[in-house]
């Protein structure tokens, strides 16, 4: 991997964004940018689309809610019907609070697990993709494939004020 790519570290986020735009314009493929916080406008510069996590959460919430309502109806109206307080077996309005809670639980926990899986994060994993330790603190990193023209790519980095080219 390292032979095919060139990395650079920037001190300012604006320089990173400018460099990212230039690198893409010159036809290089950006592997990723690394920033200590979500930088406004970087996704546009890199050309990544809107995250689809919202849809994941919607599906998970519906799964949780359907499971909860289904389980409660099955338990109280089919598996073991019992009369409580003269209510009908399928007294679904009483099942709404738990349906809501389980919908939220599935959505929240499930979406975070999806995020971790998609971002390849798991306990004990090594941050091996990271170009330099400083990018989680106060520097901005970029990694791009040089496609056989490493000098050209490095020049774009230095022209845009890279602090270090790795």
């Amino acid at each position: 991997m390292a032979e095919k790519t060139e990395a650079a570290i920037f001190e300012k986020q604006n320089d990173l964004i400018a460099a990212t735009i230039a690198v893409r314009k010159a036809g290089f493929k950006i592997v990723d940018c690394y920033t200590p916080y979500p930088v406004h406008g970087i996704e546009k510069a890199m050309g990544i689309g809107r995250s689809w996590m919202g849809w994941a959460m919607f599906v998970l919430a519906m799964t949780g809610a359907t499971f909860a309502m289904g389980a409660q109806i099955w338990i109280h109206a089919m598996d073991w019907p019992t009369v409580y307080g003269g209510k009908p077996f399928n007294s679904w309005p009483a099942f709404v609070p738990i349906t809501f809670e389980l919908g939220v639980l599935f959505a929240g926990v499930g979406t975070v697990i999806t995020l971790l899986a998609v971002s390849k994060l798991w306990p004990g994993n090594d941050p091996h993709d990271m170009p330099d330790g400083s990018v989680v603190r106060d520097r901005f990193g970029i990694v791009a494939e040089h496609g056989g023209k490493p000098e050209e790519l490095k020049k774009i980095y230095t022209d845009h004020g890279a602090e270090r080219v790795l």
């Binding site: 300012k12 986020q13 604006n14 990723d32 940018c33 690394y34 920033t35 200590p36 916080y37 979500p38 930088v39 406004h40 970087i42 996704e43 890199m46 990544i48 809107r50 995250s51 996590m53 919202g54 959460m57 919430a61 389980a71 338990i75 109280h76 073991w80 409580y84 209510k87 009483a94 099942f95 609070p97 738990i98 809501f100 809670e101 389980l102 939220v104 639980l105 929240g108 926990v109 979406t111 975070v112 995020l115 971790l116 998609v118 971002s119 390849k120 994060l121 798991w122 306990p123 004990g124 090594d126 941050p127 091996h128 993709d129 990271m130 990018v135 989680v136 603190r137 106060d138 990193g141």
Partner: protein, 460 residues
């Protein structure tokens, strides 16, 4: 085009007192975590930890002897344990309110206090959970509350019972709050990982999950954070509503009332913010974070306390009015008995601490005087504890049959558990201050960095 300059420098919208670079922010927040803790921290810890130990012993004594050691009797079947349970769940509301609702409302001052308030929420909900668990008398059968196929039929739990709703609500709230908190912590743990050595390095690497700060990851991360805030908002409102159903679906005067859910939620926010004030006024000094948890933060929280204090006052008034207007003799008796009966002192403590004390916060000078705010926040904590006490005990102690009327007195063990659980809470919070970043570093850096970048861009 949005005027970023204006957006990031709204005087009503303070994040930091002065300009800092993101490098300075990182170092400032890291500092209390790498040195040795100061004498004030040790002083607090050496009080909190033994108290927590005493509470644990008292809980074990209760579990092994039976709940006969509590001051409960046939008339007052819910005593100190349930009072404290509702109190702690209420405290647990401020964290998610600050981190989720204020996030959605774009109250950017929340950034500095969100992390510690979330931690407080998690610890408070854990403390709350202790009480119903031990109040069952046989905590080792706690799994009976969960619906699982069993050899007794299978015999299921009753999903129509508000007590079961409560179990689901509290557990969901605990899990979602913890997930929300942990998700925010991952980037900050990665920062600490880079300079750590030895066991610390191993632990931080393990829990930061190989975080690299990848822009593709941030893109998903920001959406997930926003969505979690979105689902945590109805959740936080639902939790105390469900707790109030434990009472509101009963037929006792004083409990059987439709005002209870909003009344409980307003009270929960009041008590939660009071507890955040109590903790943070101390923590900002001991951890040298005055530049991050500023007087503007304290002032903003005081305003929330003032508002919710008046909402709670309105609820008290509505209870009185409804009792009179309903013409129901039991309700009328209850209201008179609460305010003039044997527990009059508890009722008036509640009213003065929750409604009168917050009125001080009309004055800006008082809102910015930390000593007064701190003392007032203690009064509100006491008042909100008494609110739970008044709701539970005064509704129970006068049964429908005068022959069952009693005066509830807590036993020594109940007192020890109550004090001990406060010890557990403070111990956990002190450990959090010592070992984890109290301020959401990445969020502060996003505020600072993005605003500086916007200004530089404008200047060229």
């Amino acid at each position: 085009m949005v005027d970023l300059e204006k957006l990031y420098h709204n005087p009503m919208d303070p994040v930091l007192d002065e300009e800092k670079t993101i490098t300075q922010v990182t170092e400032d927040i890291e500092r209390p975590l790498v040195g040795t803790p100061g004498p004030l921290w040790w002083f607090a810890f050496l009080i909190a930890a033994p108290t927590a130990g005493m509470g644990t012993l008292a809980l074990l004594y209760t579990a092994f002897t039976g709940i006969g050691v509590l001051g409960l009797n046939k008339t007052v079947g819910w005593g100190f344990f349930i009072t404290n349970f509702v109190f702690w769940v209420g405290i647990g509301h401020a964290g998610t309110l600050i981190s989720a609702i204020l996030y959605l409302l774009r109250q950017r001052w929340r950034t500095g206090i969100a992390r510690s308030a979330e931690a407080m929420t998690i610890f408070a909900v854990m403390c709350a959970g202790i009480y119903p668990l031990f109040h069952t008398g046989r905590p080792w059968f706690a799994h009976f509350m969960a619906p699982y196929p069993n050899l007794m039929g299978s015999l299921w739990v009753n999903f129509r019972s508000p007590l079961l709703w409560d179990m689901f609500a509290i557990n969901t709230y605990l899990i979602i709050s913890a997930v929300f908190w942990y998700l925010g912590l991952i980037p900050d743990l990665a920062v600490l990982r880079e300079k750590a050595v030895g066991v610390r390095k191993f632990l931080l690497s393990f829990f930061s999950m190989g975080w690299t700060g990848s822009a593709r990851c941030w893109n998903h991360y920001e959406v997930v954070y926003l969505l979690l805030a979105g689902i945590a908002t109805p959740l936080v409102l639902s939790v105390h509503s469900v707790v109030s159903f434990d009472f509101a679906t009963g037929v006792l005067p004083g409990w059987h009332s439709t005002i209870l859910p909003p009344y409980f939620v307003a009270g929960a926010i009041l008590s939660g913010f009071a507890m955040v004030l109590t903790l943070l006024i101390i923590a900002r000094t001991t951890m040298n974070l005055e530049e991050y948890i500023t007087k503007d933060h304290i002032e903003a929280m005081c305003k929330v306390v003032l508002l919710t204090g008046m909402l709670v006052g309105l609820s008290y008034g509505l209870e009185l009015f409804t009792a009179w207007y309903s013409g129901n003799p039991y309700e009328r008796f209850l209201v008179l008995n609460r305010s003039t009966g044997p527990y009059w002192w508890a009722f008036w403590t509640m009213v003065s601490c929750n409604v009168l004390v917050p009125q001080l916060f009309w004055f800006k000078k008082i809102r910015r005087n930390l000593a007064i705010v701190w003392v007032a926040s203690l009064f509100v904590n006491v008042g909100m504890w008494f609110e739970r006490f008044v709701i539970i005990i005064t509704s129970l102690h006068r049964d429908f049959l005068p022959s069952s009327w009693v005066y509830f007195r807590p036993s020594l063990i109940e007192g020890a558990v109550m004090v001990g659980v406060f010890g557990i809470f403070f111990t956990l919070f002190l450990l959090f201050c010592r070992f984890l970043p109290m301020i959401a570093m990445a969020e502060i850096k996003a505020e600072v960095g993005n605003s500086q970048a916007a200004r530089e861009k404008g200047g060229h």
